[in-house]
Amino acid sequence: MSYVHFPVIAVMSLFLGAFVCAIFGKNHDKLCKAVGVLDAAWVFALIALIVKPVVFDGEIISYWMGNWSPIKGWAIGIGYEIDALGAFFALIVVFTVLMSVIYSIRYMDRDDDIYNYYTLLLMMSGSVLGLVLTGDVFNMFIMIEIMTFTAVGLTCFRNRSFGALEAGFKYLVIGSMGSSMTLLGIALLYAQCHTLNMAQLASILVNNTTPTSVLALALMFTGLGVKAYIVPFHMPAADSYAVAPTSVSMVFSGMVNKAGVYAIIRLVYILFNTMDKGSMQVLLTAFGAVTMFVGVTMALAQHDFKRLLAFHSISQIGYVITAIGLGSALGVTAGLFHALNHTLFKGLLFLCAGAVLYATGTTNLDKLGGLSKKMPKTTICFLVGAFSIAGMPPFNGFASKWMVYQAAFEKAVEGGHIYFAFITVVAVVVSVMTLASFIKVTQAVFFGQCPIELQKTEEVPFSMRLPMWIMSALCLLVGVFYDFVNKWFLAPATNAVLNATNYIDKMMGNGYAAAAGVENIQVAPAAFSFWNPLTWLVLFVVVFAAVAIVILTGKKSRGAVLETAENVDGKYATFFGGEASPFSHVSGSDLFWGFKKDWKGYFSFMDNLHSGIVNDYALWVVVALAIVTVWFNVFMK
């Protein structure tokens, strides 16, 4: 039974590693690197050991700090509680950290003072791990705060580079607003329930929807949404992913926003048990759909490799939020599966971007090109990642995106809601745009002509390629053996999400949940199939609808006066005028200029929203809070 101690030891080990780096690491770069790798590997082993009892066998570990177990049904101490959901996310976290520290060995060797880097990275990892394993809302808040401030530090780590400080400051302001809202929500919950333990809160809140708890839900949902970077809180995320060292961007995208997603799942499914309400489903799927659409369209307009990937990361989180917002077993499974896959392929893509940055010194798409001959191995890894994110079979992105479509469509058929059919169409269209965007990146970076400055580019060292190979292999394996992953990892985690009773009973004693009146939302196992003919038919209908939308949006320009070299931007003149400007050319990074031109109104609108002024971003947070509060107050009665 010794494995009950492993989760707490894992969290402590990461913090301890951070302190060792901070105290002894100055001028000892090798020591820091060794501590980082060994610590991450040790923690990975610890979490891997609890996977069998918790995820495979369905046991729930409860751990009271200092053995302060509940007295007379009241939780007083701080408890850690690890169910299949927490262990699933913990596995994602430790895997991401391990990949990141292996990659950092060579990637960070051109920076000064890397003991600071390792201190912050290990501390952030520890906080995210603590966040997914804890069973106490205030402990969760502390972990969120540590996560936010180490993330700010890491964003600013290369503080002489372009925009790093600016991104860090914006992240700090928005992130700290989110934390304050979460704290206010927690305080309101405490005022109503007199406890901070999640299991007990869940059992008290289930039949007690008061104005206080509704306001607390709104505040916590907004605060945690900031941590998951859903639109409209995504602007600082795009900045910080782009300017942070790439090994950190990968960690941000792989686990920091997963921590937000995890917290939202915990909040809406376990703590408030509200996902059977239609209004809640509509709100979450609306946030998800907007997030994925805004993310992908902003990505199409980017000219920086890492910033583009950052917007894709936001877009993929939209899929996850949409799927978990559906409230069905299949939806939750799809959301968790996509969260896992997002960690794999987006981490891989960020590592490839880092490899390009390491080899060439730039991530500007207009300056890159033709690297496939110079860096063939990186190119292969990048293609695997690009196929995965664009949803090509047999890679993992296909399997999870298919599940998202299927879940959304089943929801639409079940309830006869046109709204969820619309969500399905948005998801498919976004996937198409993702593919388009990755065609652009692949063309701009790896194919096409190689600029003269990049002729001496060399492949990156082995220790940087190793994590890339591991993640590529996992992208393929998870895509091929999706049934295995579903049976052993996703199904237990989905069960944990939908069955709050087990979570409460383990922590507070048997029968506690039943006494409080907590019921399971549903226990139907997630059954899904990729090759059902009916679903194919549905796919065709949906694709047809998507094509129709695209055609209809282009209707305006049909029959219009043909643009000539005189009335169009000189850059594109070769397409219309011929000789007017013989030396202009459309570069790989501008492959979809026609699309951008057609949607000029939308893009300039989005450009104004992403104004770069921190006050505007803060305003969006407050506006979103107001909308969410009003929504809950109207519909949660």
Binding site: G163, L165, S180, N615
Partner: protein, 124 residues
């Protein structure tokens, strides 16, 4: 009796958010963050306060006999948990302010301004 505290904390939070949204000076934005924090802290500490309550030194029989937790409705001691939370939150708030101000110093060195309208290299 505690209403005035709740109203004051709400005013502080709103004032802080208004400062963050409205003020174009980086330092004032940081001050806004601080004011939001103080509002939240005041709220938490008010939640746990009982008028006329004593220090929270008690045995389990005392708590069983008097505490609101066990349905007896008595207000015999001040809830210590929110005070612990507030202390933690104050410490975190101080760290936020320190970190944000140090970033402002660095930003001023790079951009030669503290106006948020001019610190927008990353946009679009």
């Amino acid at each position: 009796m505690m209403t005035v505290n709740y109203v004051a904390s709400a005013i502080l939070v709103v004032m802080g958010l208004y400062t963050i949204i409205n003020d174009k000076n980086l330092i004032k934005v940081v001050l806004g963050l601080g004011i939001v924090d103080y509002g939240v802290n005041l709220f938490i500490v008010s939640v746990g306060y009982n008028m006329g309550g004593t220090a929270p030194i008690f045995s389990i029989s005392d708590i069983m006999a008097n505490s609101v937790l066990f349905g007896n409705g008595g207000a015999f001691f001040v809830d210590p948990v929110p005070q612990a939370l507030t202390l933690t939150s104050i410490v975190i708030g101080a760290c936020v302010d320190a970190m944000a101000l140090s970033l402002v110093v660095k930003l001023y060195q790079q951009y030669k301004t503290t106006n948020t309208d001019e610190i927008r290299r990353l946009r679009g």
